[in-house]
Amino acid sequence: MAAVIFFVCAALVLTGAFGVILGRNPVHCALFLLVTLVSVAVLYLQLDAALVAAIQIVVYASAIVVLFLFVITLLGVDRHEPRDDSHPFQRVAAIVLGVLAFGGIVVLVHGNRWVSGAHSTRGALGPADTGNVETLAKSLFTDFVWAFEMTAVLLVIAVVGSVVLARRSGHRPEVTDVPEAVPTPQGSRETEGSNA
């Protein structure tokens, strides 16, 4: 049974991943990403990580994918992008590099016999039917409490930073290339001309 669940979810994970990188419409890409994220959450459940699976669904599959879809529709880029293969060499090189990287990972990890190292250095997993919620919370609020507090700082910085970045400052520039809202320093044209 575990094998069936694993292989079905693995197929869904890879289908979603290929859909993300091959889809022409960004909305389809976001929905394929959702397939991958939910399948990975099921795999987390298979690995006795119920809390991580729940967070995966709540944070990733809900918040992040909805944020992606919101930005796609806000910007109005939900149309098929033109297939401009100005650099077909790039595409082939990327695929070759990807296959080589996958082979490299497999060879490297196989050389170390996949799983090695000390067991249970930060505390063992709980019984399989508990989903490790209590174990994870205990570790998070004892061993990792400093890092946990720092995530609060990180999130505050991220929220303030994204507000500052996305805020509409002054009037909207109508011209696409020459931003008129930003004052250009005097003499920048001359230096550019002299350099050219």
């Binding site: 990403l33 995966q56 992040i64 990327a94 996958f102 990792f144």
Partner: protein
């Protein structure tokens, strides 16, 4: 292969190979796509591959810290998406495009 067997012989190796495939697909997608939004989704695929291998190691080594690190990765991913999408919106407002090839100047 390790001696750490899950039921029905799904070992950690299967999960790690799946994570490696997912990471590779994400990396290739990041290289071949030009839409910055889709490139962001490819970064999410790579983060998920790393998370999956963390949880697989947590199970194989019977250690909770793998799952705790996934928790922190999720926080960083959420912050990264918020900042990244704000940058994409700012670029779109300036250039009317989300194509990565249109953003090739260090100034303006």
């Amino acid at each position: 292969m390790t001696a750490l067997n899950y039921p029905d012989h799904i070992t950690a190796t299967y999960y790690l190979i799946l994570a490696a495939m997912l990471f590779t697909i994400g990396a290739v997608g990041l290289l071949i796509r030009k839409n910055t939004l889709v490139m962001f989704m490819c970064v999410e695929l790579m983060l998920n591959a790393a998370n999956l291998s963390f949880v697989a190691y947590a199970k194989a080594l019977n250690d909770i810290s793998g799952q705790v690190i996934v928790f922190f990765t999720l926080v960083v991913a959420a912050a990264e998406v918020a900042i990244g999408l704000a940058i994409i919106i700012a670029i779109f407002r300036r250039r009317q495009s989300v194509n990565a090839d249109d953003v090739d100047l260090l100034k303006g």
